[in-house]
């Protein structure tokens, strides 16, 4: 699904990633751990193609296609989706309107009856109905922001999702709910909810994901296949995500520094 080869990325003229390689196969969920400032978000932003993240070396392959130089919206249209950690408030655009655009693959066009029904169902599933007619991200709580992001992703129906610290800003009791929502997006840990049929949910299992976590809390709720530790712009460790997390929890990231040498 996604292959990153020896990626070097500069931000404001400074090299942040010094040659990162990883591969996320179809239907797998990979988790990227590491301390603040290690370059996790930079990797995600560069994969998605945001301005300000300049790839100086290496390449990004998505389903076999080199997307390193593709504009952001083209990557989105090919099936890459991202949930933002701190999304901006977009004034004058309602969440409902944006959701319609997500469902129409980025095209602005009148909504069909079918699309309108999907909007309602998604809002119901992600518990976003109360703010569907508010401006995008305006006055939302931490948990609401995350749910809104996941709802937009569901509408986009991406082949692969990038999640940037999904648990940040969410209080502990809501992390479980959030983990459930992410699992639902990825078609894992399936539970009937009376809204979306299980068969449709199972289809989502084909999705891949690359998830950033600083604290690792989300791992307690998320079914994941592989973990990485990133330190100072390099991947220093990979393996079973829960096993890695246990070591990190016990000894902290400072032990990982030693692997850099």
């Amino acid at each position: 699904m996604l292959k990153v080869e020896n990626l070097k990325v500069e931000v404001e003229g400074k090299e942040i990633l010094h040659g990162v390689s990883l591969e996320v196969p179809d239907g797998e969920v990979h988790v990227l751990m590491g301390p603040n400032g290690s370059g996790k978000s930079t990797l995600l932003m560069a994969i998605m193609g945001f301005s300000g993240y300049r790839v100086t070396e290496g390449r990004i392959l998505f389903n076999g296609e080199d997307i390193t130089d593709l504009p952001l919206h083209e990557r989105a249209r090919r099936g890459l989706g991202i949930a933002f950690q701190r999304p901006p408030v977009v004034k004058g655009i309602k969440t409902r309107h944006l959701l319609g655009i997500c469902l129409n693959k980025g095209e602005i066009k009148p909504l069909t009856k079918d699309t309108k029904e999907k909007i309602e169902a998604l809002a119901e599933e992600m518990n976003c109905k109360p703010f569907l007619d508010r401006e995008v991200n305006a006055g939302l709580s931490g948990g609401e922001v995350k749910r809104s992001e996941l709802m937009q992703l569901l509408a986009q129906d991406p082949k692969m999702v990038l999640l940037d610290e999904p648990e940040s800003g969410v209080d502990l009791e809501n992390i479980a709910l959030l983990g459930k929502a992410i699992n639902s997006l990825l078609g894992r840990g399936l539970e009937p909810n009376g809204i979306t049929p299980l068969k449709e949910k199972k289809e989502r299992r084909k999705r891949s994901a690359l998830v950033i976590t600083h604290t690792g809390h989300i791992l307690n709720y998320l079914f994941s296949d592989r973990g990485y530790v990133m330190m100072k712009g390099r991947i220093v460790c990979q393996g079973n995500p829960r096993e890695i997390l246990r070591t990190v929890e016990k000894y902290g990231y400072q032990e990982c520094v030693k692997c850099l040498r």
Partner: protein, 354 residues
């Protein structure tokens, strides 16, 4: 020269429906000539202003504005009045049209929303020529408990100069709402309509959408005197420059204790050659009043654009959506052709926007 009656498309641009489907009355004046003046619904009175003065409505001439000899020689204009308690479903539409090259149109308009009535007026000013001058004096009276919703759209030819002068008097419990849209200011436009909230509990709300294309220059403001007890006012203006110059003014004067007013001027520069000058003014003349303002001039936030692009929108669509959202045109109920043109202007300027 093109006569107003062949200008269906132009009229639609300024909200004038020539088929008069959802309108309660229609007034069209070309140069000095009243082309159309007819009422379809009860409760509304519509006359050329000169006829109205003959009929005994003289008290309204220079009743809101101080008499100004400079503006005496008007040729005509509209007189619109809603009868006490009347609530016509559809708006009254009025169009002032300049057809002849280089001509001067001088009008004096009077609108009266009589006690407890509700009146919506849509006025569109446009031209079939490039050069000309429009001098428009308007006096509005909102009587006790009445509501006047005044929508004005300016779409002038490139060399038209416009100097309107407007005053509004609002009595006890009355409400004045102004929606103003200007995308074609012509060569120069300067206006500063003033509202006098005289009666207790009177309210005024201005909402203006200003778009300046290269070469355009507009100096547009709104002023409200809050002199009645518990009066309220809100002035909101949204200015977008795609190369032209906009001065967006606002002036609130609180004259008695307990009044509340807010002023908001926001500007978005989409072209480095453009200029937006926001001048919000607050003037308090009593203790215990609440007046606030908010002004901001800036460019489009790259982060917002990319957020939308990450959802699959092209850069053009993302910028246009943000600008449309900024201008808040959905709320104003912009005529469809004008909306389309606005989209074109925005997307043309997109390359310079970021």
């Amino acid at each position: 020269m093109s006569s107003v009656t062949d200008q269906k498309d132009k009229l639609l641009m300024v909200g004038i429906d020539t088929e008069e489907k959802e309108r309660s009355a229609t007034f069209i004046q070309e140069e000095d000539r009243v082309v159309s003046c007819g009422v379809k619904q009860e409760g509304v009175e519509l006359l050329p202003v000169k006829k109205a003065l003959e009929k005994g409505y003289g008290e309204y001439l220079w009743g809101a504005l101080e008499k100004d000899p400079q503006y005496e020689g008007f040729s005509n204009g509209y007189f619109i009045r809603s009868e006490p308690g009347a609530k016509p479903v559809f708006p009254v539409q009025a169009c002032l049209y300049i057809a002849k090259e280089g001509s001067v149109q001088h009008v004096h308009n009077i609108v009266v929303a009589d006690e407890n009535s509700e009146l919506h007026v849509i006025t569109g000013c446009t031209s079939g020529t490039k050069r000309g001058t429009h001098i428009g004096v308007s006096e509005f009276y909102v009587k006790k408990g009445a509501l006047l919703h005044f929508t004005m759209i300016h779409a002038w030819g490139d060399e038209i100069e416009t100097y309107p002068k407007t005053a509004v008097v609002v009595e006890e419990g009355g409400t004045f709402i102004s929606d103003y849209i200007c995308m074609h200011p012509g060569k120069a436009i300067k206006m500063y309509p003033t509202v006098y909230l005289k009666g207790a509990g009177a309210t005024a709300r201005f909402q203006s959408v200003l778009v300046a294309v290269p070469g355009a220059s507009m100096d547009i403001g709104s002023r409200v005197y809050l002199s009645g007890e518990n009066t309220r006012a809100e002035i909101i203006s949204r200015a977008v420059s795609v190369g032209g110059e906009i001065i967006a003014r606002g002036h609130l004067i609180g004259e008695v204790p307990g009044v509340k007013a807010h002023l908001e001027c926001r500007g978005l520069l989409l072209d480095p050659k453009g200029r937006i000058h926001a001048i919000p003014e607050l003037e308090g003349k009593a203790i215990d009043l609440e007046m606030t303002h908010e002004a901001a001039v800036g460019k489009i936030d790259r982060e917002e654009v990319e957020y939308l692009m990450a959802r699959g929108m092209t850069e053009d669509d993302a910028v246009s959506s943000i600008v449309r959202g900024f201008l808040n045109v959905e709320i104003m109920g912009l005529p469809e052709p004008l909306k389309r043109e606005l989209d074109e202007i925005i997307s043309k300027s997109n390359e310079d926007a970021l």
